[in-house]
């Protein structure tokens, strides 16, 4: 049985599908968050060297991983939109950006809070923290470029090009920052030198999955609003039940 995946790349088909999927993603994300917190705080033991403080890892690592992945996903959608001129992919890219930026912010915030008890300062110009900060700047650039262009088509395409240039630059930035960091700091500070216990890993993966599901749910519901906004002059929007009531 061949499923026509392209069927769902049209906003008309995608809108109701996303509406059906959102509750599932939201509920499973909430369950996994609860499970992950239980595993992380009750089941997993305190770390030998970092004590209770290490438990920030369960929110810090998933959010920073997601903020980087989401940038790549965003750039991927942007590239698809630019090359194949599909409406939906550009909308997806602009729906992902705010979520990615917020994840980057949370990652920075929790990183600073972790740094305080571990390193004694809120901020260290560590390679990863610095790259994360630059990633946040890249997200903000994407969002503000998109916001300052009135014509949605030009906004989509210009922001897409910026996202692609940014994603090419991300590895260069990361390695240059890492290199700069090793030059300037004699002793590199490691995030977690000790090997993680199995329960800790379970908790981390559960939280990571929860964050993924959360991101998908939020992005889908944001993209639904964008579809409504962009296509409000079309007939199928006027026939939607939530619009009629």
């Amino acid at each position: 049985m061949a499923i026509n995946w392209f069927k769902y790349s049209a906003p008309t088909m995608f809108y109701p599908l996303a509406g059906k999927l959102i509750p599932w993603f939201a509920v499973s994300s909430a369950i996994l968050f609860a499970a992950g917190l239980y595993l992380g705080f009750v089941v997993a033991p305190a770390d030998a060297t970092q004590g209770e403080f290490y438990r920030i890892i369960y929110i810090h690592v998933p959010t920073s991983m997601l903020s980087m992945f989401l940038y790549l996903v965003m750039a991927g959608y942007a590239a698809l939109g630019l090359i194949f001129n599909t409406r939906l992919s550009a909308m997806m890219a602009s729906a992902i950006a705010p979520t990615g930026a917020l994840f980057a912010f949370i990652a920075l915030w929790t990183g600073a809070l972790w740094g305080k008890p571990m390193w004694g300062t809120w901020w260290v110009w560590d390679a990863r923290l610095t790259s994360e900060l630059i990633l946040l700047f890249l997200y903000l650039g994407f969002i503000s470029l998109h916001a300052s262009i009135d014509d949605p088509r030009r906004a989509d395409r210009a922001a897409a090009l910026l996202a692609i240039v940014g994603s090419v630059n991300v590895p260069i930035i990361y390695f240059s920052v890492k290199w700069w960091n090793t030059l300037h700091q004699g002793s590199t500070i490691k995030f977690s030198g000790t090997s993680m216990q199995v329960t800790m890993q379970h908790a981390m993966f559960t939280m990571l999955a929860a964050c993924w599901l959360y991101a998908v749910a939020v992005v889908l519901s944001r993209v639904r609003s964008i579809i409504l906004e962009r296509e409000r002059h079309t007939k199928w929007i006027a026939e939607l039940s939530e619009v009629k009531s």
Binding site: L145, L161, G166, N169, I173, S176, V177, W180
Partner: protein, 225 residues
């Protein structure tokens, strides 16, 4: 091949002639650069040791800001008088035209900064060798800034508040250039080898020269349609 080179030279010369007609703009960038650099000792204090250590970073960041300042003008004049539209319609490759404009922009706003560096280096009491390396790193790095900046300038063409937005888009992308540029000078003052830094800067320059004209041309097409 010859034709492309000729075209490149023609576009560059045209932009240079235009820039020479408005010499004030060129001078403004240079004065801005000198002023920002001179503000730093006033801000952090006149201790020579600290200034000598800070000098490469200060000069590089100031050069970065100064090149942002003039980026807005890269396409806007041609955009306003309709020349850009003609360039888009022209049978010649738009990437080559863009590369020519980048080169002219660098000669007008990047090269003067490089030439000004020795004087400013003396203000910061930099050793002669470090000044040389700094000039070399700026010579390799500032064209990259012009090239990356051209993408941002093309994307923000004709937008309100374009100048600030342009800096927001371009500055994060310029970080590697800044790191390698200051790294070279730092290594030279510490008596270490600085050739690897300069090689990396050169690699960035080559990469930028190959890809950015095309990307900026695409950005122009997006902005102009």
């Amino acid at each position: 091949m010859n034709k492309i080179l000729l075209l490149l030279i023609m576009v560059t010369r045209r932009d240079l002639v235009l820039a020479m007609r408005r010499r004030a703009d060129v001078l403004t960038t240079l004065i801005f650069f000198v002023m920002v650099v001179s503000l730093f000792p006033l801000g952090v204090g006149p201790e020579t040791d600290m200034l000598r250590k800070m000098a490469p970073g200060v000069l590089w960041v100031s050069a970065l800001l100064a090149s942002m300042l003039s980026l807005g003008r890269l396409f806007s004049a041609d955009y306003l008088d309709g020349t850009l539209e003609q360039m888009l319609l022209a049978p010649q490759s738009l990437s080559v035209l863009v590369l020519g404009k980048m080169a002219a922009h660098w000669m007008v706003s990047g090269l003067p900064l490089v030439l000004m560096t020795p004087v400013l280096g003396l203000q910061f009491d930099m050793p002669l060798k470090a000044v040389g390396v700094l000039m070399l790193s700026l010579l390799l790095g500032t064209p990259v800034l012009s090239m990356i900046g051209a993408i941002g300038a093309a994307l923000t063409l004709g937008l309100r508040g374009g100048g600030v937005l342009l800096s927001l888009l371009v500055l994060p992308l310029c970080i590697p250039v800044l790191i390698f540029g200051t790294g070279a000078v730092g290594a030279a003052t510490d008596g270490l080898g600085y050739s690897s830094h300069l090689s990396l800067l050169g690699a960035l320059l080559v990469l930028a020269a190959v890809f950015t004209p095309w990307v900026a041309a695409q950005a122009l097409r997006i902005s102009m349609e």
